[in-house]
Symmetry: C2
Subunit: 383 residues, 2 copies
């Protein structure tokens, strides 16, 4: 029996998607591949809720972040980077690597970004670009992208959002909100194998990119868009063809389920986990439901519980459930339960129950029965 992998990406992949990826490789500069590529781009626009442009890059989410930054910023240019976790920090680091002048607007890890502070930074600088991580996977916090987008519009700054671990899993409306560039990855909500990154760019941002000296050859977004105009439509460099097969299938599954329905499903997953964890008597890393991530939930370790032992010998080896640890200074302090991809009610119940039983084995006083009742209550509200 395979393990129940509940990481905040990569996630378990549905059999239909996995098998699709095992189809024989085809010519990546053919009408046959054009059809897959084109449909992936069109379905991605639905995912991003945009009528703009979408580039699909072979690489990780970080590659897409770099593509956005290196296509938009030249050395010496200013950027406001909102930082309240590892990935917000990464955006800032990438911009520094590019030689940009980075103004960090920092918040404690686990706290939500305050739009007012972003406004202050914009009022006080010449920055024409703002970066934000929508769902800070490292801290399990959802940042207020819509409000910050509004501020960016007021200050005429381009708003670049990393929605790698949120897009498709919670309301996000690129065009309506006025997000200019948005990046995501295949291995999160979409439930694909890792290896593809998607970058959506509206015309306003594309115009700016086209005026800039791109900082990267491989991660040059306008070039990807230019190749989508060729006959046949293609990617500039050999794409991970099989990963495209998988993406195609996964995007069709998303369309079939419907974005709103998936958002709703994830809200339910989130509630089951949060109420279950609370009823166990464990502490949520982000107590406030209003800012809690819809796709990943952090749990603070009770005193004396060793991360490696709990997640390794107990949870993974004995209960066959895989969750993630904390990152950077949160390593050993929290663990994180991913609820993205194809996750369903049973997975959440399994996770919470096994976490409870595992904690009990380690001598933690948890109430497994109360957790079951709490989860049943959540479910009774929706059935």
């Amino acid at each position: 029996m395979e393990k129940l992998v509940l990481l905040p990406g990569p996630v378990m992949v549905h059999e239909d998607v996995l098998l699709r990826s095992a189809k024989q490789v085809m010519n990546h500069r053919s009408e046959e591949f054009e059809e897959i590529l084109t449909e992936c781009v069109e379905l991605s626009k639905y995912l991003f809720q945009t009528d703009g442009n979408v580039a699909i890059i072979t690489g990780s989410g970080t590659a897409a972040m770099e593509a956005a930054i290196y296509s938009l910023l030249e050395p010496g240019e200013e950027v406001v980077a909102v930082v309240n976790g590892k990935f917000g920090e990464r955006f800032a680091d990438i911009a520094e690597r590019r030689g940009a002048e980075v103004r960090r607007v920092e918040f404690e890890w686990g706290k939500v970004a305050d739009p007012e502070r972003v406004e202050e930074a914009l009022a006080d600088s010449d920055a024409e670009v703002v970066t934000l991580v929508h769902n800070e996977t490292s801290t399990t916090v959802l940042n207020p992208a819509e409000e910050i987008a509004r501020i960016c519009r007021e200050y005429d700054a381009l708003f670049v959002v990393d929605a790698i671990s949120s897009l498709g899993g919670v309301e996000f409306r690129m065009d309506d909100w006025g997000v200019d560039v948005c990046v995501t990855g295949s291995q999160k909500v979409l439930g694909c194998p890792p290896g593809l990154a998607l970058v959506a760019v509206n015309d306003r941002a594309l115009e700016v990119m086209e005026e800039k000296d791109a900082g990267s050859y491989y991660l040059d977004i306008p070039k990807y868009l230019e190749y989508l105009e060729k006959d046949p439509k293609q990617t500039p460099y050999t794409p991970a063809v099989n990963a495209f097969y998988a993406l195609h299938e996964a995007l069709k599954r998303l369309k079939e389920e419907g974005l709103e329905a998936r958002w709703e499903r994830y809200r339910l997953m989130q509630r089951i986990v949060r109420e279950g964890i609370r009823a166990l008597g464990l502490e949520l890393f982000v107590e406030d439901d209003e800012i809690a991530s819809p796709t990943v939930t952090g749990v603070t370790y009770p005193e004396g519980v060793d991360d490696r032992e709990f997640r390794g010998e107990i949870l993974r080896d004995r209960y066959d459930v895989v969750v993630a640890g904390g990152q950077d200074h949160l390593a050993g302090e929290i663990f994180r339960i991913g609820h993205m991809g194809e996750v369903r009610i049973r997975d959440m119940i399994t996770a919470v129950t096994c976490i409870g039983l595992g904690m009990r084995e380690l001598g933690v006083d948890v109430d497994v029965g109360a957790a079951a009742e709490a989860m049943a209550d959540v479910l009774s509200e929706v059935s």
Copy 2:
């Protein structure tokens, strides 16, 4: 029946490799993945014939080229770029994008690089880096990497080789020859799906990289090597886990066949194709067997044959054989038959015969019988 895809990458993937890639995703920062990653790195050293370091990057071959250049060169630094085709040009373009001072040593497309000209360029410049494409896929020419390596050693220049479409398919001895950095891709000789790129770096080059300001965040080679020292060993950014499964399987297949045996197999494939094409009465783009690519063969179109019609309606749609066209100014002038990956005798015979029959349909005077005889002669020598 699936098509016989004989592109110079991506190539057809063996069923065992494809199915391996459809295994469920696992935690990429686990002991379980560490084992796969570590074995891939070790087997890659055999492939490169090096005791040095190997980074495996999620991306195309171009990503690996950029990783090499952006990790080695800072803006303003000089580089000698040997250019006799599209990919040699790409190395130069990437270096220019990095802001390096690029000195191109250019040769006509279809001609081999002359080591003396490289020596002249080094004698006449302060360049500390030289780039070469070993097997120029665009022109089907194999460049003399060993000789140029010797010159680089004399001038104490770091030698960076793109062996994307040759490595594993023809003799290449990174350490013995003194190649400092070598890049390759998963979708060529290795016969994997596209999506992973490998970069081998010896200690001399790594020391230089560690002193430089890396130009890219995602494509920062020392960072990949640093993460191979972590516990568990891992990649800095989420890798294409399923592509690693495939790579692992493909590298084991290579090891099992043996490098020398694969080189020998490809020499045979090359001879069958070349003698077959000649006997048909068609013209090889590279007439000289000494400099002809071991993994891809270019054929000059007879006057009046339309590339799209021949490769599309005739060869692909009617005969189910897929070959590549020419690139850039060679588009419409040549077509290219890939013989890398898992190709076997039957594939070559099929390709040559179908090409002959297809040409005949278009009114070209070809001798299909003579081609069969010529291929039989080649085979009789080795059986």
